[in-house]
Symmetry: C2
Subunit: 780 residues, 2 copies
Amino acid sequence: MNYTANFKLKNNILIYLSVLFLAFGCKESAVKSGIKVDNIEALNNAIKDAKPGDNIVLANGVWKDVEIKFRGHGTKDNPIVLSAETAGKVSIEGKSYLKFGGQHLEVEGLHFKNGYSPSRAVVEFKINDDEIANNCKITNCVIEDFNKLKRDDSDLWVNFWGRHNELSNCYIAGKTNRGPTIRVNLEGIESINNYHQIVNNHFGPRPVKGGPSGETIQLGNSFTSMAPSYTMVANNLFEECNGEVEVISSKTNFNEFRNNVFYKSEGSLVTRHGNYCTIDGNYFIGDGVNENYGGIRIINTGHWVTNNYFFNLKGTSFRSPLAVMNGIPKSPQNRYNQVTDVVVAYNTYVNCSTPWQFGVGTNIAQADVLPKSEIRSARAVRTTVANNVIYNETGLEAIVIENDKADGVTFKNNIVDNKGVKFNGFDGGIKEVSLSLKIISENIKIPTGVPNDIEPYVGFDFGNIKTDLFGKSRENNNSIGAIIGVDVANPNILDKSKYGTDWFSNEVEPSDPVSHVVTNASEIQAKIDAANKGDIIVLSPGVYNVEKSLVINKAITIQSKKGEKAQVVFNGTANSPLFSLNPKGKLTVNNLDLKGNNTNYAFASLKENMSNHFGLTVSNTEISNFNYVLKVFKESFSERITFNNTNISDCLNGIELSGEINAKGDYNTEYLTIDSCKFNNVKANVVDYYRGGYDESTIGGNLIVSNSTFTNCGVKEDNRILLNHHGIVNVNITGNTFKNNPVAFVSVLWGAKNNAQSNNTISNSGQIKVQENLEMKLMY
Amino acid sequence: MNYTANFKLKNNILIYLSVLFLAFGCKESAVKSGIKVDNIEALNNAIKDAKPGDNIVLANGVWKDVEIKFRGHGTKDNPIVLSAETAGKVSIEGKSYLKFGGQHLEVEGLHFKNGYSPSRAVVEFKINDDEIANNCKITNCVIEDFNKLKRDDSDLWVNFWGRHNELSNCYIAGKTNRGPTIRVNLEGIESINNYHQIVNNHFGPRPVKGGPSGETIQLGNSFTSMAPSYTMVANNLFEECNGEVEVISSKTNFNEFRNNVFYKSEGSLVTRHGNYCTIDGNYFIGDGVNENYGGIRIINTGHWVTNNYFFNLKGTSFRSPLAVMNGIPKSPQNRYNQVTDVVVAYNTYVNCSTPWQFGVGTNIAQADVLPKSEIRSARAVRTTVANNVIYNETGLEAIVIENDKADGVTFKNNIVDNKGVKFNGFDGGIKEVSLSLKIISENIKIPTGVPNDIEPYVGFDFGNIKTDLFGKSRENNNSIGAIIGVDVANPNILDKSKYGTDWFSNEVEPSDPVSHVVTNASEIQAKIDAANKGDIIVLSPGVYNVEKSLVINKAITIQSKKGEKAQVVFNGTANSPLFSLNPKGKLTVNNLDLKGNNTNYAFASLKENMSNHFGLTVSNTEISNFNYVLKVFKESFSERITFNNTNISDCLNGIELSGEINAKGDYNTEYLTIDSCKFNNVKANVVDYYRGGYDESTIGGNLIVSNSTFTNCGVKEDNRILLNHHGIVNVNITGNTFKNNPVAFVSVLWGAKNNAQSNNTISNSGQIKVQENLEMKLMY
């Protein structure tokens, strides 16, 4: 026991247990004190008095509104530790954060939930410019849904400064507001050459943000892109990290990405700025369907992409398994440097749609309309692609997609089993052979049978690629592809117990939804409130006169009894919604007849504090006499909004998703789908889906309008366009009938992007126009 | 003896002497064979057969037109050596070069002179992309005046590729053609992390080039500015390295500049691109007069400027002892990144005019006329200036010149003896104290008497500054300034025997000029040819009818006997000059009367192959009836052209220096001075001095027109300007009289640059106009 420490303790601090002897081999044996605290004042005092080797223990329970400034000076052998009494039983809630300042400080076992940081970060490795953390660690913790109330209020959940800090064995998921989940900062000489460790974490689902600044990890920024970082990102699981197109945005030099698993993540590992990164031994696992799962996107100089395994990825262009971008000659600092001196070697691709794309992002065709400093015309040079193995169960037309010529790339000793389909072999650099597939697990299938005469190409410094994907030495019996030999054990990459904490799991037991029958209006809200998420509210036949908005704050379905449409008549005040879509309110409406009083709304998000996403699916429903069918406000976001087999009539406004007006690339839904619907006499904003601000790498917004009929709509539409989708990148208008709509244009398609129309019948409704380039505000 | 090697030798190779035993401590003793060769075929064969430990010896004498490809594979302990029989007695002449390919190859004792490389380099550490040198060395060699014939034919004299190559103990001087003397290339992964050594060399005079691309050392380029270089430049003497504004242009990362001496060099050590350089323990020595001697100019991030000594420097702005530039926000790759995270610590400045300038290169005032991507408005941030000592025998008005605010700079614990003149102390970061000066040598004077209470400021990582200028440990008894203590030995920094070869000296015994009297025209050329450089040709009184151009190819003076002007009448053909100024032809004409036939020229350079500079001074002379007084052709250059107390009359054209028309920033003379002259009836091109192409860091071209009279001139001047000096940066027109010159403008001054006029009398001659910004072609 350390009696000196004891002497200073206040009344409300208990000395307890844990006398630890340091590991064999140390010169001195030290005694760790355990100092239990149960409120913030006691914690602050304990921190103030802490000495190397002290262990401050937070009592189990809820710690609300705690701003923890963990400052101190531990030593390598005797860190100061701040831990939960029981890992996972200490929750940090409300307006709370944790900041480190000093050295050799460790935090363990906390659960951040039900709250948000009042600061710019939840966990920060700096208290102020004079108190920066070094050799500090947060481990075995969870940060879950700790979102600021407003989507535009930017923060980070873990913000690195200093050197040699660590985020390990944590589970982090659910960020919806602006800002990368994790950022490493390099401003200031204190934070370069940082050698931070981001290891063994489980990055759980981060939903689509609907605009930029939704990375899971960002290492630096363009202004520090010259800085040597040496951050290690290893052995992490990235599960459904869908925030934006970049799961990891590496913007500094000498970072390493090793043995991570990217599982169903709608984005890529991108070397956005900075150079000389190592991307080795990672798994990129798709489902063979979703085209948003990415791989590795390369910009800049000197990266080595080795021993990676790509499976079942259907992404193309920016989201290709390997997307090598064109640069801008003499690029501005925040744009695209040319790719040079890159090595892509010993990777394996199984059943990927376009394994390799070069010249990605080329916009030479727009040279006439864009300034010279925007033209990505500089192709990759001094780049080697060697010793890779590709296996396609269905042969591809091209192994290399050349958006611009890959004439600065040397292909050596790559092989592909393309099932006999002919392709460009780049002077023998890509050879067709016949391979077999050995199944190791559901997602790990190894192409086998590489002919013995195909020896690995030995490029400059290739001797530094010492092992294969599984860590097996390449020194003897080397072979091409990510995996040497065929006799390998299942790496169990999706065994979640290998990542994150030792106490938290995001696996949920599936449960069957329960139906709750309602017979009169007054009980609807109560039934919703009492239901579990996923349950069904069933309206018995009849008319329900609802006076007050129904609050939806969980996943819920509301439907009529089979076959008979219940009618819901909403008499609520002007501009109030029948269904108020709150954070996490994911509403499915089926087979109802909804009627308003011409001043109120059918559906609306909150006007503010939409701290989490909502959702909306409407099927087989009649909607009439509303001011707005759907009104979504600024900073509200739904991943999907779907109207299906639904009739909308006699409304002043239709589906309004144009709240994001500050030209920062944000929008209100990722997917708006309108299929087999009828719109009649909707006077304005029939469909209004808007994205402002231009950044070519943010590729979202998806509108499908199909098999629907629009009649007598748009009479009060000021801009004389029926379907408004300004700035939406992916638009498909197909199989619709437009009749007697007094507008000039049914739609104005953005020709330079993925906007298409087909099989529409238009009479007395203006026309569909294609505008090649939009005038948009640049976001950078 | 190595009999295996012997067995392979051809007839014309002699085996001789030199059995060497390797140094004590090696596991095996090895025998070095000496293989003497006396022609290129034998050399090539010897190279082909060479094995580790071989020593190939070049026989003394002249080796003409030899293209040496030195390829082979030595080992660390047994390199393959190619050496002169006697160091300095083997000269490489004519069209020759030396290329290295392989590893552990060394070259010693050669003298490159009287020739030029037919390739892009004289010495190159690469034969082709598959034969790059590693661990190769050139040492104890001289490269002297090895210029291509045309100034625009670019080459390098030592061109580095690969890794771990060395240029040591060489003397290199006299480059006049385009291209840095030394370049380190980083294209390709084979050449990054190169750790080249450029050490112990004597870089002798490199004359002003007259335009850009005249660096003595260039490390990389903007396109490889992200590359880690780690080149060491140490213990070199840079003597009169005046090629351009950058003596050393560092364009990559992690380079080190240690213990070099910059002596009367008209340029700076510039961190032009790239980051994280170390500039430690260097000497920058001026003469207290010349404002072109520079110091250290900082651009980009993370440089450490420590322990340097600055003496008697009068440079300002770009050429300040410390010039910290403004950057361009989000700069294009080839422009100016912002200065961030720079440390300037423990330096000493003695008698420098403006020790520290910040915001150098700011052009915010031109924001209206220049594109945004050209505006240097980003001030230095996160920059620390600490522990420096400044001593001024004459107090300065400002210690820090703020071209733009230094508000991102932290000043800590700097002191200055400013002789009581008040200055901005930056919140105590620069304190006035009273110091003494201890004289160690002519150029090394140490400020002493730092008060004991001024402890060094301890910034982040300052503990890495372990020694002082002289290598003394800072661990105990540390103090501010470059030098700890006062009891130091003279470092003899200008003892030339410490640098360069062990056999060559550039010190010349001064000799008195000899006068050679001439009495008739036919003997003038013969006397010139027979004279030594510096001699004087004296024309006896009388008239000399010269029919053929007089060839001037050395420094020579031609003058009349005192008091009486000899008349030289030139009847040469049209467009031929009386004095043909050849390479190295530095002509002084004094007290003559020169008369042409209205079709020929008084003075002209060669039309081509001006492989070295000329010079011209004309005093007390009458010049009349020429087509051109002086006609200087493209790719000709004179450091100075001076007309003094000379009358020029009845000529079709005057002084024509406008040959450089390809807008690459070149021009024909550095200084054109016209003082106390009379121009009468010169019809066109009275003065025509031109520079095309804009790059703000090339700051040359100097025109002085003073105390002169211009009458009846410019009648045939198409552009209606009397004194043409388009693009010349420094212009001073003062004390002249302009009378009855039928032009619109006497001069059009460039307002944004250092163009001035004063005390001129203008009558019936148009006016002097100031144009703030010229339209010029950008060179980058």
